[in-house]
C-alpha cells in the first residue's frame, strides 16, 4: 500500500502555548513512524505575522536538509503588495501548496484577493491550502480573538469562475465540510479536499457519515503535527464500521501527492486552453 503524503504539518513555535520539539528532524521521524511518506510543511509562527516573507525564508532554510520528505507549503498573503511575485517564488521553490490563513489575516468571505490567488494557484498548478483553525474555540488565548474560517469563505474560493484551483481545507469538522461540499456544483466539488483530523468518529460517527456521503476521494490524510497527536487520522480510519473498512481499502483516502499531481495536470490543461490569459502574467 502506498504511504500517503501528509497535507497538514508545520514546524516552529506556537504563540499561545509550548509545543514539544517542533523541529523538522523530529517531524521526519514521526511521519515515518505514523506511516506517511512525507508532508506539506508550513511555518507556524508566520500565520500571525504581518509580513510572511521572513517566515517563508526561515521555512525554506529549515527544510533544506529534509527535502526528500518535507515539502514547503509557503504562505502568500493576497492582500500584500507584490503577492504575485511571492507566488512565483513559491512555485520556483517547489512548493506543492500555498498556505493562507484568512481568519488571522482578516480576509472576509469573498475577499477579492483570495479569489485572485485561487485563480493564480490554479494556473500555476499549486494547491491552495486553507487552515480553518489551530485550536478548539473553547481554549483560545484571550489575545487569539479571531474565529474559525467560515464555510462562506471556502465556497467563495471554490466557486471562482473559470478556476482550476485545487483547494485543501484543514481543520474542518462535519458541519463545515458539509456546508461547503453541498454548496458547490459537482465540478467545484471535484477540486476540493478536506483533511479529516477534526471530524468525530464513534459513537457520533460523523467520519463514517462523511465517508458514506462524500466518499473517501474527497478526504485526505494529515498529521496536524506539532499541534495535535498525529495518531488521530489512523485512529479514525481504524474505527470505521466493517462495511466501510472494505470500501476504503478499495477506494483509499487521498494523499498530498495525488492532489498535487491533479493540480499540475489541471494547470497544464488550463494553460493549453487559455493561451496567454494568465491572471498572474496579465498583472
Amino acid at each position: 500500500m502506498t504511504r500517503p503524503i501528509d497535507v497538514n504539518a508545520w514546524i516552529g513555535g506556537y504563540p499561545f502555548r509550548e509545543l514539544p520539539h517542533p523541529e523538522p528532524d523530529i517531524l521526519c521521524r514521526v511521519l515515518d513512524r505514523e506511516g506517511f511518506d512525507g508532508a506539506w510543511v508550513g511555518h507556524l509562527p508566520g500565520a500571525w505575522h504581518r509580513d510572511v516573507t521572513p517566515s517563508n525564508r526561515a521555512l525554506l532554510a529549515a527544510l533544506a536538509p529534509h527535502r526528500d520528505m518535507l515539502q514547503p507549503a509557503l504562505m502568500v498573503r493576497p492582500d500584500w503588495p507584490g503577492w504575485e511575485r511571492a507566488l512565483r517564488d513559491a512555485v520556483s521553490a517547489g512548493a506543492p501548496a500555498i498556505r493562507v490563513y484568512p481568519a488571522q489575516w482578516g480576509l472576509a468571505p469573498g475577499h477579492s484577493g483570495l479569489t485572485e490567488l485561487a485563480l493564480a494557484c490554479g494556473e500555476q498548478g499549486v494547491v491552495l491550502h486553507v487552515t480553518v483553525r489551530f485550536e478548539d474555540l473553547r481554549q483560545r488565548h484571550p489575545m487569539d480573538g479571531v474565529g474559525d474560517v467560515p464555510a462562506a469563505t471556502l465556497r467563495a474560493i471554490a466557486r471562482a469562475a473559470g478556476s482550476a484551483c485545487h483547494l485543501v481545507v484543514a481543520g474542518a469538522a462535519r458541519e463545515l465540510i458539509e456546508e461547503t461540499h453541498w454548496g458547490l456544483t459537482v465540478g467545484e466539488q471535484a477540486r476540493v479536499w478536506y483533511d479529516f483530523h477534526w471530524v468525530w468518529g464513534p459513537p457520533e460517527e460523523h467520519f463514517a457519515h462523511l465517508v458514506r456521503t462524500l466518499g473517501p476521494s474527497r478526504l485526505t490524510w494529515s498529521s496536524w503535527w506539532p499541534l495535535r497527536l498525529t495518531q488521530q487520522a489512523g485512529a479514525l480510519v481504524d474505527l470505521l464500521p466493517d462495511d466501510l473498512q472494505a470500501r476504503v481499502r478499495a477506494e483509499p483516502f487521498v494523499g498530498g501527492g495525488e492532489i498535487r499531481s491533479s493540480a499540475q495536470r489541471a494547470a497544464s490543461l488550463y494553460i493549453g486552453n487559455a493561451k496567454g490569459t494568465s491572471a498572474v502574467s496579465n498583472r
Binding site: L19, P20, Q139, G201, R228, L229, G234, Q245
Partner: protein, 297 residues
C-alpha cells in the same frame, strides 16, 4: 492488531482499557438514532480493547429538560435506564448515578437507590459550581458508599458558558479539600478550555484524579499532566469521542512512562478508585489493584 496497526506498525495494544467516562443514550432522548449510538460505542470499544464502560445518562440530553440542569423526573428515569442497561450488559457496562445537586434530597435518594442497584460512582455535571455547599452532602454520600465522584470540568473557565454552571479545577479543588475521604475524578482534560491551568490547580489535592478524555488531542497535554500529577492520578477515558480515546491510547506508548505507569493509566487506577471487584470479571483475577506511589508514600 487493527488495520492501521498493520499499516504503520503501531504496537498492538496489550493493556486492557477501562473507560471511566462514558455516556449512553436512553429512548427518552432527542435523537432517533440513540440505539445506533449505543451500539457504535460498544463496537468501537471492542475494537479498541475497552473491557468496561463506566457510563451515565444526563437526563434526556436536552429533550425535556436541559442536559446540565436535568429535572428530577428526567434524571430518575435516565438513572433507572442506565442501571438496567448496565445490568443487561454487565460486566462490560457499569453505571454512574447522575444527579442534579440543586435537588439535594432527590440526589441523595437517587444515590442510595442507584448504589443498591449496582451503581459504582456518582456523576455530577454542571448544575451547580463544584465548590457550592450544595455539593457537600453528595460528596459525603460518595465517601459513605466508597465510590468516586466524576465531576464535569471546563478547563480554566474564563467566562460563563451557555446551558451550564461549569466548574474548573480550582473550584473542584475547594470541594475536594473539604472532603478528603472522597475521590473526585476531574473530567476530560481534553474536553475544552485550557488544560494547562488545571494541573497546578489540583496538584496539592491528592484526592483529585483526572481523566484524559475529550475531543482535544493537543500534543503536550498528557505529557504535562504526567509531569504535574504523575501516572497514579491519571485515568484513560474517551467520553463522547472514542476516536480521540484511541489516539491517546496510542500516544501513551510514546510517553516517558514505565510499563507500570501505562498499566495504571489504562486500568489500574480505575481498579483502585472504584469499589473492590468492580472490574474483576473483565480483567481477570490476576489483575489485582496495586498500591500507587502516592499510597506507598
Amino acid at each position: 492488531m487493527t488495520a492501521l496497526d498493520s499499516l504503520v506498525g503501531h504496537e498492538p495494544l496489550h493493556e486492557p482499557l477501562i473507560d471511566v467516562h462514558a455516556h449512553f443514550h436512553s429512548p427518552f432522548t432527542n435523537r432517533a438514532d440513540w440505539a445506533g449510538y449505543n451500539a457504535s460505542r460498544l463496537a468501537a470499544g471492542a475494537t479498541m480493547g475497552v473491557r468496561a464502560h463506566v457510563a451515565s445518562v444526563l437526563g434526556t440530553w436536552g429533550y425535556t429538560s436541559p442536559t446540565y440542569f436535568s429535572s428530577p423526573e428526567d434524571q430518575s428515569r435516565a438513572n433507572a435506564w442506565m442501571l438496567a442497561y448496565a445490568a443487561q450488559h454487565g460486566p462490560l457496562v457499569h453505571a454512574y448515578v447522575a444527579v442534579n445537586p440543586n435537588f439535594t434530597e432527590h440526589a441523595l435518594a437517587e444515590c442510595a437507590t442507584g448504589m443498591a442497584a449496582g451503581g459504582i460512582g456518582i456523576k455530577l455535571a454542571a448544575g451547580r459550581r463544584a465548590d457550592d455547599v450544595l455539593l457537600d452532602d453528595i460528596a459525603d454520600c460518595a465517601a459513605q458508599h466508597g465510590v468516586p465522584v466524576l465531576q464535569h470540568i471546563f478547563q480554566h473557565r474564563r467566562r460563563d458558558w451557555p446551558n451550564q454552571d461549569a466548574s474548573d479545577g480550582i473550584e473542584l479543588a475547594r470541594l475536594a479539600a473539604r472532603h478528603p475521604r472522597t475521590t473526585f475524578l476531574l473530567a476530560h482534560i481534553g474536553g475544552g478550555g485550557d488544560w494547562a491551568h488545571t494541573f497546578p490547580a489540583v496538584l496539592d489535592v491528592p484526592n483529585i484524579v483526572m481523566d484524559l478524555s475529550g475531543s482535544g488531542i493537543d500534543r503536550g497535554m498528557i505529557d504535562e499532566a504526567l509531569r504535574w500529577v504523575g501516572a497514579s492520578r491519571l485515568l484513560w477515558a474517551a467520553d463522547v469521542t472514542l476516536c480521540t480515546g484511541l489516539t491517546k491510547r496510542r500516544a501513551l506508548a510514546h510517553l516517558d512512562a514505565s510499563p507500570d505507569e501505562l498499566q495504571a493509566m489504562c486500568w489500574g487506577n480505575a481498579v483502585r478508585i472504584f469499589p473492590p471487584g468492580s472490574f474483576t470479571a473483565v480483567l481477570g483475577p490476576d489483575r489485582a489493584p496495586r498500591p500507587t506511589a502516592l499510597e506507598a508514600q
